[in-house]
């Protein structure tokens, strides 16, 4: 490995990932009941798979959308952050709705499910099958299904939009 230039690259890549991390709207749970939240193992397991992520960013490095087109970095967050969005979307307590954000700003549509990310993940997280594909399905529902769309409009009374919720109120 040639030392300096490559290391510089690495440094920029890592900062790209930290920039992406800043864009993720935090979890928004309802107020905690006396004695703590009730969630069942089955409900938390899906999210736990994604939280195994050790942030090695190998999936980010292998994803062709990021690798081949520098310009994509502006509007594509990459597999590490797709699993983060999926985890929050599937969180039993979350009242946030990030689907517009995922579609419009995180560039989920650019992913063409090559599965390279899943193959390199050292934690064996099924990034494509368990996060990206379900996320794509949810986003599509949200966008094109008028009933779901209407439902969402109504529910917005209780759900803050992703943008509004970027900073979570301190519990």
């Amino acid at each position: 490995m040639k030392t300096f230039p490559i290391i510089r690259d690495l440094v920029t890549d890592v900062s790209f990932n930290f920039e992406q991390a800043k864009k993720v709207p935090a979890l928004m749970p309802p107020p905690m009941p006396e004695g703590g939240y009730i969630m069942f193992q089955e409900d938390v397991e899906r999210g736990q798979e994604f939280r195994k992520c050790i942030e090695c960013f190998m999936c980010q490095d292998v994803c062709h959308v990021i690798r081949d087109h520098e310009a994509n970095k502006l509007h594509y967050s990459g597999p590490r952050f797709f699993i983060r969005y999926a985890e929050l979307e599937m969180h039993p307590l979350d009242m946030n709705d990030r689907r517009d954000l995922v579609r419009e700003e995180m560039g989920l549509g650019y992913c063409n499910i090559t599965k390279c990310c899943t193959e390199v993940c050292p934690e064996h997280i099924k990034i494509t099958d368990n996060a990206i594909i379900p996320l794509k399905e949810r986003v599509v529902d949200a966008h094109y299904d008028p009933v779901a769309w209407l439902g969402r409009k109504i529910r917005r009374k209780t759900k803050t939009s992703a943008q509004d919720a970027a900073v979570q109120p301190a519990p």
């Binding site: 030392t3 300096f4 290391i7 510089r8 440094v11 890592v14 930290f18 991390a21 800043k22 993720v24 709207p25 935090a26 979890l27 749970p29 905690m32 004695g35 703590g36 939240y37 009730i38 969630m39 069942f40 193992q41 938390v44 999210g47 736990q48 939280r51 195994k52 992520c53 050790i54 942030e55 929050l88 969180h91 970027a166 900073v167 979570q168 301190a170 519990p171």
Partner: protein, 604 residues
């Protein structure tokens, strides 16, 4: 103040991005302050990430009998009563709230069948008390705090190593001087308050579970800045580190293996822990294997197996078995879960351990025993702080997490660290904010201190011939392992004390080649002064404490002596430099209020 270095200015500056540092940042940020965090590695990679077993909090989800009083008593007994009792009290009372708070920030703990947070058994805890996520609880903790910090838009300086704290003209802490590891360029930070959250110091021992970060920088910087270090002789050797292959010797095997049914055997296949139950623990420990085995399924059916005694007890027992010639081929003993639980159970409950042994040692723990032995793990000693505010004796300087002393006394119970980080990380954030609001904070840095620190840091480049820092580090680790390791004796400690003077001279004679950008030799050269200062206080404490207590065992004084249970040894320097002399005094323990005293007696 003019400065030719890159400069940043904050209200609260936090050194360390482990659990304690991140929790402190959240608190200070919520008080509306400008907060900066510095880490010498990357955000999300601190030591905290390696914690496996869990986080202790008396929520009573599994054993409804549990409450803060029992947790307090367990912590004090585990610490052999050297603890700061106010810290132990606050910790026991506040940790359940801190766990729930993590859940509100996105942590997903394992659940009971009723949907509450599941709690697991761990050594020294009377009831099942550790909230956990499989065997990757530290990752969950750090990720949750990191995501919270990032969502609050806090500045994080990564790969930036702090060299020294800087005062104002009046002895208050006013900031620090650091350098960027990637470029070697210096940078100064001024702040109204500085919180040390730099973690541990285990890297000065040969066999250690600590990573390259654990060089005790924060301990040393506090000492040099005028704060006191207490209980430095109390070092926890975790009973179960890998002993083989050599390249990973010291790597931790979680206590969860024993909590889930794993037992220790010697080369004769005997469960030897039954022979090592100290009188203090006899009432609550099983007498036979049958009784101990019943306990795993039904805690009311039998008392706890002796494999779950506090860590110092187990580590000493293993040491004794190996010394008696009943060890395993690589100098450890056997940890056996294969003969006791099904492969499915083992893989589900202990996935990281299964992978660790498979990948690193080629051992399938579902069918074979693990070879394990004691490894340097945690330093109970640290900066003396006020329990409620985490303030040190130096105005403007706060400390929380492993770098702070007092909470764990002479020995820490497993799981009590992760909860310590969030309880006292939060309190440090509050303490720093209150201090700033009081209007007493420093406003300018003494630039001569900055220049002096930079001059020291650059000294290794001025020599063309000299010592190699790697040789010094290796020799220091060997020396400390041998002379101030798990079992100590007067002659060896004296030898260590003398050798540390030689090491001081060797460090002054280091020569480093190359540029400052990403120069690991130089990075290490800047770690060594901290390591030496820490080792000196450890050796000093070890020589003065002429008794055995918790993480300090003297072969020549094998018993605990009540006279030594009245104070902590407290160290300062006589010059504020890394090579200054160490001055040691006896610092009386905090008097214990009667209500707390009563708890210890009533639940004995």
């Amino acid at each position: 103040m003019t400065s030719s270095y890159e400069h940043h200015d904050y209200d609260v500056l936090i050194i360390g991005a482990g659990g304690a540092g991140l929790r402190a940042a959240i608190e200070a940020k919520q008080r509306g302050l400008k907060v900066g965090i510095i880490t010498k590695s990357l955000l999300g990679k601190a030591h905290t990430v390696m914690a496996e077993g869990g986080m202790a909090a008396a929520m009573g989800n599994v054993s409804s009998e549990d409450n803060w009083k029992v947790h307090f008593r367990d912590t004090m007994r585990g610490g052999k009563f050297l603890n700061n009792n106010r810290m132990a009290e606050l910790h026991a009372k506040e940790s359940p709230d801190r766990v729930h708070e993590l859940e509100q920030w996105g942590a997903l703990f394992d659940r009971t069948t009723e949907g509450k947070i599941l709690q697991r058994d761990f050594g020294g805890h009377r009831y099942a008390r550790l909230a956990h996520v499989g065997d990757r609880t530290g990752l969950e903790l750090i990720r949750t705090l990191q995501q919270k910090v990032v969502s609050m838009d806090t500045d994080v300086f990564m790969e930036c190593k702090v060299l020294k704290l800087v005062h104002d003209g009046d002895g208050r802490i006013a900031g620090c001087v650091a350098y960027w590891r990637p470029t070697g360029e210096f940078v100064t930070f001024s702040a109204k308050a500085v919180i040390l959250a730099t973690g541990g110091a285990g890297k000065s021992w040969k066999f250690t579970s600590n990573s390259w970060e654990g060089t005790g920088d924060g301990h040393a910087m506090a000492l040099w800045a005028g704060a006191q270090l207490i209980d430095m002789e109390c070092i926890q050797f975790h009973p179960t580190g890998m002993v083989w292959p050599l390249s990973v010797r010291g790597l931790l095997v979680t206590e969860g293996v024993r909590g889930d049914g794993g037992v220790l055997r010697n080369s004769e296949g005997q469960r030897f822990m039954f022979n090592y139950v100290a009188p203090m623990f006899r009432d609550e420990t099983a007498e036979t294997e049958e009784e101990g085995d019943k306990w795993y399924d039904d805690h009311a059916a039998g008392r706890r197996p002796p494999e779950l005694l506090p860590r110092d007890e187990v580590a000493r027992a293993i040491n004794a078995e190996v010394k008696a010639g009943r060890g395993s081929p690589h100098g450890g003993v056997y940890l056996d879960i294969a003969s006791r639980r099904t492969p499915e159970f083992i893989r589900r409950r202990l996935p990281s351990m299964y992978h660790q042994f498979m990948e690193l040692a080629g051992v399938d723990i579902t069918s074979e025993s693990m070879e394990i032995g004691p490894t340097c793990h945690y330093i109970m000693g640290g900066v003396k702080v006020d329990a409620d505010t985490a303030a040190t004796l130096v105005p403007g300087l706060f400390a929380a997490g492993e770098v702070a002393g007092g909470m764990h006394g002479a020995n820490r119970l497993g799981g009590n660290s992760l909860s310590d980080l969030v309880v006292f990380g939060r309190r440090a954030g509050m303490g720093a904010a209150d201090y700033i609001e009081s209007g007493q904070a420093a406003t300018s840095m003494d630039m001569s201190e900055v220049e002096a620190a930079i001059k020291d840091a650059l000294a290794p480049f001025e020599k063309t011939e000299g010592e190699n820092p790697y040789d010094i580090q290796r020799d220091l680790q060997e020396m400390m392992q041998l002379n101030v390791g798990i079992i100590r004796t007067a002659s060896e400690i004296e030898d260590a004390t003398n050798q540390l003077e030689t090491f001081t001279q060797r460090v002054k004679n280091i020569a480093v080649k190359g540029g400052r950008a990403y120069n690991p030799g130089w990075n290490l050269a800047t770690d060594l002064p901290s390591m030496i200062s820490v080792c000196k206080t450890v050796a000093r404490g070890a020589s003065l404490r002429k008794e055995s207590r918790g993480g300090h065992t003297r072969e020549d004084f094998p018993k605990a002596d009540p006279e030594f249970a009245k104070f902590n040894f407290a160290h300062t320097t006589d010059g504020g430099n890394w090579d200054s002399g160490i001055v040691t005094t006896e610092s009386p323990l905090l008097p214990m209020p009667e209500e707390l005293q009563a708890l210890l007696e009533e639940t004995k």
